[in-house]
Amino acid sequence: MQNKRSVTVLLWCAPLIFLAIFYFYPLGSILKLSLARSEAGALAPFVEAITSPSVHRVLGFTIWQAFLSTILTLLLGLPGAYLLARFDFRGKTLLRALTGVPFVMPTLVVAASFNALLGPHGWINVGLMEVFNLPEPPIQFLNSLPAILVAHVFYNTTIVLRMVGDFWSHLDPRLGKAAQVLGANRWQVLKNVTIPLLTPVITAAALLVFIFDFTSFGVILILGGPHFATLEVEIFYQTISLFNLPLAAVLSVLQLGCTLVMTILYTRLSAKTSRPISLQSSRHTQGRLLTWQQRIFAFGVIALLLIILITPLLALAGRSVTSFGVIDTREGSLAPGLTLAFYRELSINRQESLFYAPPTTAIGISLTYAAATVVLALILGLPAAWALAQDRTSRLNRVLDPLLMLPLGTSAVTLGLGFIIALAHPPLDLRTSPLLVPIAHTLVAFPFVVRSLTPALQSIQPSLRHAAAVLGASPRQVLRHIDLPLVGRALLVAATFAFTISIGEFGATSLLSRPEYPTVPMAIYRLLSRPGVLNYGQALALSTILMVFAISGMLAIERFRIADVGEF
């Protein structure tokens, strides 16, 4: 028993040291400095925030939209997860890869995608105007609550698909069959067998989705428009526009507090619901689409997933090869015509700019950062997840578990400024180091890695380990022959998350960047913020390249298997 505890403590070491240096220390420094700047004392901004009706309004809206978005994401994600978990059909690998692409896309690109699809001159509005001969675009989608919700579903459905779908695919379907034999109908099986077994992983996924929506910034700002603000948007405004650091600090604390409360609730809930079960290879759990009901279900779910997750991206790709027809704009629609001009222009350094990077270079830089993030996030996330899985009820784990989620609930602006003041002295003078980028990405990826791995690690029957140990296996052999094969698939999911988070990250990267190492999202941002259609077109072209590149990356990961890891 004593031994087990010391193992848990040891496992926690690396992740905690990392979080202490690169998260708690910078965050603590900036909060302390910010509150010290308050002229009326450190308490005054707290009082200001608590009594301010506008803060109440913002907090209320933040929770409300996150709640709605999470529900909608689950409504789309769970049927999708079921489909991917229980059925084997042609094109499944491609579908899985495609649904992961939105997660990679920086918000600016997503805004451009929705604009290309549903904006005033998006494909749908232009099409409707032509067909029905309308003078005005009939659909007003941008800058509305539905735009926020749809964009959140667009982004986060993949979290549910991957986390729940993967776990579900290893659930033994014979449990349900047994219940049916005993007289339960399909709903009773769902309610009494499947859902209880899935609860830990569904709550884990829902929590991640909720926190992502709760701290949403770019989607709210660009697609939501000026009538909507989340805490994160307000923190940005107070920090950057007004330099009201004390109030920004209080809002950051408020956001962190909410994240912590949600995580503690989750931890309590999952401690009650998770249990070891025997996982099966997906080979034994999946069947073909046999009945017509199954086919209709599959068709419906796939169609919905493609419409919500893929059409905006297709609209963007389409726009990137369409001539804007500057002169003919007035002819009722944008004069269509295919062009590769934007792609050609990407490889030309017309202004001989020092910071120009051809797409291949930017992709190379993005890949390097992503690889570093995957390695770092797994090195740190695996021991943490393992420690958590050892004994959920130990006091150490109960305290530490909720802390792991905090980086997701932290404002990027606040933490970015924290780095500036905290990491200023050797040996940690990393403020201008390119290393800071993968470190920041790892902070975001780390909770995903832990959440993807823990349910799988927890569900390993202790009796398997014990049996191996009794038969003389060393702890290392237990790890190699029991744990690793059983969690291989979850490891892959975790790596995918780390990879995609890093490739698409923009907020933290832009705060810490060195202009000679631009990532793809940063290169896109540079192009997008300039006047002239040639710049805009290039931004769309580069976004499309990022998209194709993301799809290939996902497909490669889907196919990636090492010996017995990943399949069992």
């Binding site: 604009n115 428009g225 948007v233 950057i240 200023a424 702890p475 259609v533």
Partner: protein, 355 residues
């Protein structure tokens, strides 16, 4: 025992990985004197031509490294928070809307560059020369030329025109709380109508069916009728029309848009450079500041950064000479006024326009 060893090693490795200093390939230098290093911190719109930088590096045997620190506001905040241990030797990019913040936080050392003599006094907003003007850009209304021709409507010439019924539902602006051109346009209205009168003007705009979005990209590329939106008047830059010519998809000889430059209808953003307090490279930093004010760098500015040189000795590209409309009398607000009232004006604007 083995178990613990593995874990200890993995702890050590991850710590080492986290702490290892950035390894950068250093170019092998054959000439004996080590080049002097200079670090320049900028906002994320900074850009420079390779050969222009090369000219500086060769002349002073220097190696310049740039750090981009986010947008203007973010970069100023970072410089202010890092003032005890500056991130760089020189900071470029603070504009007149953030100048007071930089000066109040005293991040700069004064430097009276000899090149200041060439630069018109209008641009010199800091009499102590802690912040030296480099470039400027005007935030102005842009309109879609073809829309007005087709509808037989004369384009607006002043801010007051926007209240006329014929311009109802034509204007899109950016939110001053989230957008730099949006804020500049709010300042233009405060400068033009005065702190007592600007809200009444905005109230009139709301009644004339004003549209507000959060960012320039959405205003310009989604809502502006030039790119297929429904609004033929947009808040953008005075320089946008010539850039529409330079970055047109197919070569064109007339800009499809034009800027409204009537008295008081634009707001001028001036960007400054300063030497960061406590730099150990004061001498080279001075050289860099001189260089930024010299015609070589000044002529490089427009096509790299989309703003314009303050040094009148710098020659402009032909396209700009032809198509750039510069307001004679942009609205003016002092940086001190801006700092004192920024929050108040934005809040009042929000109450009037968005609620």
């Amino acid at each position: 025992m083995k178990y613990k060893t593995i874990i200890t090693i993995s702890v050590l490795i991850s710590l080492l990985a986290a702490c290892a200093p950035a390894s950068e390939p250093e170019p092998i230098e054959i000439t004996p004197p080590e080049p002097l290093k200079l670090t320049v911190m900028t906002h994320d719109s900074f850009a420079i031509s390779e050969d222009v930088l090369e000219a500086f590096q060769e002349q002073y045997n220097a190696e310049v490294q740039f750090i981009e620190a986010g947008d203007t506001g973010t970069a100023v905040n970072k410089a202010a928070l890092a003032k005890d241990k500056p991130l760089a030797d020189v900071f470029y990019g603070v504009d007149n809307t953030f100048l007071s913040r930089a000066l109040d936080e005293s991040i700069f050392e004064a430097y009276a560059s000899p090149l200041l003599a060439d630069i018109p006094d209008d641009f010199k907003l800091d009499p102590q020369n802690r912040a030296l003007p480099v470039d400027f850009g005007d935030v102005c209304l842009n309109y879609d030329v073809a829309y007005f021709e087709e509808n037989d409507l004369s384009p607006p010439e002043t801010l007051e025109d926007l209240l006329k019924p014929e311009y109802a539902g034509l204007l899109v602006v950016e939110n001053p709380a989230t957008s730099s051109p949006g804020l500049a346009f709010l300042f233009a209205t405060v400068g033009h109508f005065g702190p007592e009168g600007y809200l009444e003007f905005w109230q009139g705009l709301v009644e004339n069916d004003l549209k507000v979005v959060n960012d320039w990209e959405t205003a310009y590329y989604s809502e502006f009728s030039q790119w297929g939106g429904t609004r033929p008047i947009v808040v953008s830059y005075g320089s946008s029309p010539p850039f529409e010519v330079i970055f047109a998809e197919e070569p064109i000889d007339q800009p499809p848009t034009a800027a409204v430059v009537g008295a008081g209808s634009c707001f001028r953003q001036i960007e400054f450079v300063g030497i960061l307090k406590g730099t150990p490279n004061r001498e080279l930093a001075e050289k860099w500041v001189d260089f930024m004010l010299s015609p070589t760098f000044q002529e490089d500015i427009p096509l790299q950064m989309y703003v314009f040189p303050v040094n009148p000795n710098a020659n402009l590209d032909k396209t700009f000479q032809e198509y750039l409309a510069t307001p004679d009398a942009p609205a003016f607000l002092s940086p001190t006024d801006i700092a004192a009232h920024r929050e108040e004006w934005i809040n009042a604007w929000t109450e009037t326009v968005l609620r």
